[in-house]
């Protein structure tokens, strides 16, 4: 029985001012509607332009659950297509990345397409003469996604033809991407390796929420970060230098007061970040030569400004988190209502010392890998939530921490760093983007 399809009101009713109904995490119908409405209405991260360095380079990805294919055309332009042959629907590319040469060729019947998606050739073409083929969608080649924006190398796409513009959607939140790119003395990032992939048996939104949840590290990660701090204290002997590993683990155990003062900044459309005044990434050891490179590239004042902005986690609604200070992007890819694939990418700062890339890779495997003890702590909590939310005793999830009665949605504000307001911000946006192309159905039904 369908409770939510075509019923914008019932979906909006799942999000109260400071609570959300458990169905947003556990109901398969809601998940289906997210794929049908939320993801196509949103600007979703597809990949990085450095993965498409040369003509013919391609990557595959998903937007929601839609398989897509991005390619670099001979004129340098980047195009994104639905990853299926217009003939029988066979996926054109099945590898995560590669170079297809001058054209894509479907492996089933050898239909071929230029790297801008247009139809190049079909074997025995004359068999289509006089059949009306020229008037079909298939004759246009690979179905192209029209709304694509590449912002400082980051490729985003919106599946729906109409909707909120890229600029209005992200607004000032792009400042986190700016800061990450500016950390390269050449102002360039590059992807040089595959991401760490980690399968989560929980709803994708639990992961997104956790990115700005500053009241869990000292509790849930006592087992990992807390043990790391304890073991180091015991084993350090007369060592005066804190190993990079301990520098990365240690700050997770910062007290509530630290997170309170470090602050959270929220932006319209569900974006926001932790670590405004400072963050858990603020006190890493300097990497020799890097500051000098930055000063040479940007000047003294600007270099310090860039490196002084040490944000913690920035959520790009709906399903991406960026850490500028360690050049990591986590993509929370929805697979099913209770299954999420997390791909954690590390970008290399072009022109910066290798030590920074080494640190970013270390951070990624400590925190975001299936072999990561911090990851084990988090996944255990998500799995328990996915199970616990089946309970009918209380069907609401409480997001009321530091809620003010006069709280306004869709504003820019800097607030106490232990607030759950960014989660409320996300769910306000969730309801909006779930239903923005649904209203006409409701009116039609009335």
């Amino acid at each position: 029985m369908s409770r939510y399809a075509g019923n914008a009101r019932s979906i909006a009713a799942l999000v109260r001012e400071a609570e959300v109904h458990r169905d947003v995490y556990v109901d398969p119908e809601i998940f289906g509607l997210e794929m049908e409405h939320l993801f196509p209405n949103s600007w979703v991260y597809v990949g990085h332009a450095s993965q498409l360095a040369k003509p013919g380079d391609f990557i595959t990805a998903t937007i929601g659950r839609q398989p897509v294919l991005a390619s670099r055309h001979s004129d340098g332009s980047i195009h994104i297509f639905y990853n299926r042959c217009p003939h029988k629907g066979v996926k054109i590319a099945s590898e995560p990345c590669g170079n297809t040469g001058k054209f894509f060729r479907c492996p089933y019947h050898a239909w071929s397409f230029k790297t801008d998606g247009s139809l190049l050739a079909i074997p025995l073409k004359k068999g289509y003469e006089g059949t009306g083929f020229a008037d079909t969608e298939a004759n246009e080649g690979l179905s192209r996604i029209k709304n694509v924006v590449i912002y400082r190398g980051f490729i985003f796409a919106r599946l729906n033809e109409t909707g909120v513009s890229f600029e209005d959607y992200f607004g000032q939140s792009l400042s986190t991407i700016d800061n990450m790119v500016d950390r390269s003395p050449e102002g360039r990032l590059e992807v040089v390796a595959a991401p760490i992939r980690y399968l989560h048996t929980c709803n994708w939104k639990m992961l997104v929420e956790n990115q700005t949840d500053t009241c869990h590290p000292m509790v849930a990660h006592e087992s990992s970060a807390g043990t790391a701090v304890k073991v180091w204290k015991r084993e350090q002997g007369d060592s005066t230098e804190t190993p990079m590993a301990v520098q990365l683990y240690g700050p997770f155990m910062s007290p509530y007061e630290f997170y309170e003062q470090s602050g959270i900044r929220i932006w319209p459309n569900g974006h926001g970040h932790t670590g405004v005044a400072n963050s858990i990434h603020s006190n890493y050891a300097d990497v020799g030569g890097y500051l000098d490179q930055m000063i040479a590239a940007y000047g003294e004042r600007r270099a310090h400004e860039i490196l002084g902005e040490v944000r913690h986690n920035t959520v790009y609604f709906p399903n991406v988190m960026v850490k500028g200070a360690v050049q990591i992007l986590r993509n929370f890819i929805p697979i099913a209502v209770d299954k999420t694939l997390v791909e954690s990418w590390v970008y290399r700062l072009v022109g910066a010392p290798d030590k920074l890339y080494e640190r970013a890779l270390m951070y990624n495997r400590f925190i975001n890998a299936p072999t990561s003890i911090v990851g084990h702590d988090d996944l255990e909590m998500y799995e328990r939530a996915q199970e616990g939310l089946k309970s009918n005793g209380n069907q609401w999830v409480n997001l009321r921490r530091l809620y003010a009665r006069d709280e306004q949605p869709d504003v820019t504000a800097v607030i106490n760093g232990t607030s759950e307001r960014q989660m409320r911000n996300q769910f306000h946006t969730w309801a909006k983007f779930m239903t923005m192309d649904m209203d006409k159905h409701v009116e039609a039904a009335e």
Binding site: A220, S223, S224, G226, A245, N364, R365, L379, E380
Partner: protein, 158 residues
């Protein structure tokens, strides 16, 4: 005198220690400068500037072992158990004069927790150093056949 049988026996003994959860005895098999490495690329060369699943020194391995027993380690309630099924190790080098001892062992590894059971296949490469009469692990490298697939939690040691 360390011969090929000593190398093989060491590898069987290591698997036994892991399967019986004698974590401290397992840590004692490592040289103080030893490393445990799980690459994330096929025939990966560099553990530092290429991404890995794990590349840990003894300090970090101690953290893992101590965490497993922690009162607030909720991902170990209930506890995980593991099983190593090893093929006979292939001796790559056994040269007492040069102090070089290397072996490669094909394995199937099973990790279980509660009602979940996961299987992994791959190769373990051991690089030993001789300390007194004994071998110590300089590098244990664990290559999974599907290193590039997304896994759930892997909490113990392959």
């Amino acid at each position: 005198m360390i011969d090929e049988k000593a190398v093989t026996d060491f590898i069987y003994r290591e698997a036994e220690l892991l399967d019986t959860m004698q974590w401290q005895s397992w840590l004692d098999l490592f040289h103080p400068e030893g490393r445990y490495w799980m690459p994330l690329e096929w025939q990966q060369q560099d553990p530092v500037l290429q991404p890995s699943l794990m590349y840990e020194d003894l300090l970090l391995l101690k953290v893992r072992v101590e965490r497993l027993a922690g009162e607030r380690t909720f991902s170990q309630k209930p506890k995980s158990r593991c099983h190593h099924l090893l093929q006979a190790p292939q001796i790559v080098a056994c040269d007492t004069a040069a102090g070089v001892f290397k072996a490669r062992t094909s394995y199937i590894y099973t990790e279980t927790r509660g009602d979940m059971l996961e299987r992994y296949s791959g190769w373990a490469s051991h690089d030993f150093v001789q300390v007194g009469d004994a071998l110590k692990i300089k590098l244990k490298r664990v290559d999974l056949i599907n290193f590039d697939a997304p896994f759930g939690n892997i909490q113990l040691f392959m």
